[in-house]
Amino acid sequence: MGNAVDIVAERETHMTVRVWRGQGDQGRYESFEVPERENQTVLDVVTWIQQNADPSLSYRYACRVGMCGSCAMTVNGKPRWTCRTHVQKVLDGGILEIAPLRNMPVIKDLAADMSGFFDKWVAAEGVFHPTATRTDEIPKIDPREERRVEIDNAIECINCGICYAACDVVAANPDYLGPAALNRAWTLVNDQKDGARDARLAAVSGGGGCHNCHSQQGCVQHCPNDLNPTASIAGLKRETAKSFFKWRR
């Protein structure tokens, strides 16, 4: 088996990987030659660079299996989850360009600061407000029930920030809550066990609320879990529009 490895090593081809290096607003791309493998994710490439070329490279990941949402970066211009993006799928003319996620401040190199993203999650009332205590009976909710189905469609969010990076309104309007937070708010609007529906509808109706969304669906296009924040935001628009007429009365 030893010479099989040798043969692989002999035939080894390399790709050029341009990696963003820097802190805050300052930075530039640095090129690395990285050996190509048959099965290789973008995260593998970044890890290879850190372990074999430059140990000072900063980046973030945890689960490596598309669960934790911490590894998203801009790969050849598009936001992607790097642990589940195969290099072969995104390589462009033998070049891979990796940058931190857009629309977030850069901490260092490929690690973006996601705190604003999570703050907006809270600002959109993406937080459950219980209505019962542990002694109350648990309400029975039919899984086929319409509101429950709405929740199902939007619940599998891993907070990766990819939709947030793909949204031009986030880039243009610093107050905009963004697709993930609004998608989360929509699941809670449909949650019959939640007690803050009106407060939530008010929270998503301000200057940074759901009404700023232009429905161009960059979020839908890029969400790695195939969620549809645009549809969730449209749901919020409908519910707030209804409440608009109610509040007027």
Partner: protein, 115 residues
């Protein structure tokens, strides 16, 4: 960015861009439109002057462009309102394409009648 592909490279982003650009151009055209029409009151000969100027082929072509902008902004806008207020449809790209095609048809009809 050395690579042409970005988060914007998808048809619905282009539809959004078209909606924004058409809306902006229409909003900029409106004052001119109103200003010329108000000559009916103050200076009818000047209004006629403008209308004859509009017979020039180049101006007719520009008018075709304006009709297209108006139609595409309306059809595209109806698509967005349907997206927001009707149950979700998975055929967003088809609808966006249909809005543009329909607008082109309407503007084409206008041009055919104009020449």
């Amino acid at each position: 960015m050395s690579l042409a592909r970005t988060h914007r490279s998808h048809p619905l982003w282009y539809a959004y861009a078209l909606h924004r650009v058409s809306g902006l151009l229409l909003a900029l055209f409106l004052p001119l439109h109103f200003w010329v029409l108000s000559f009916a009151l103050t200076d009818p000969a000047r209004l006629d002057g403008f209308l004859h100027w509009a017979d020039l082929p180049a101006v007719k072509l520009a008018e075709f462009g304006l009709v297209f902008l108006l139609a595409v902004h309306m059809f595209g806008g109806l698509r967005l309102i349907a997206l927001e207020f009707l149950p979700w449809s998975g055929r967003q790209k088809a609808y966006a394409a249909a809005a543009a095609a329909l607008a082109f048809l309407v503007a084409g009809l206008f041009l055919l009648r104009a020449v």
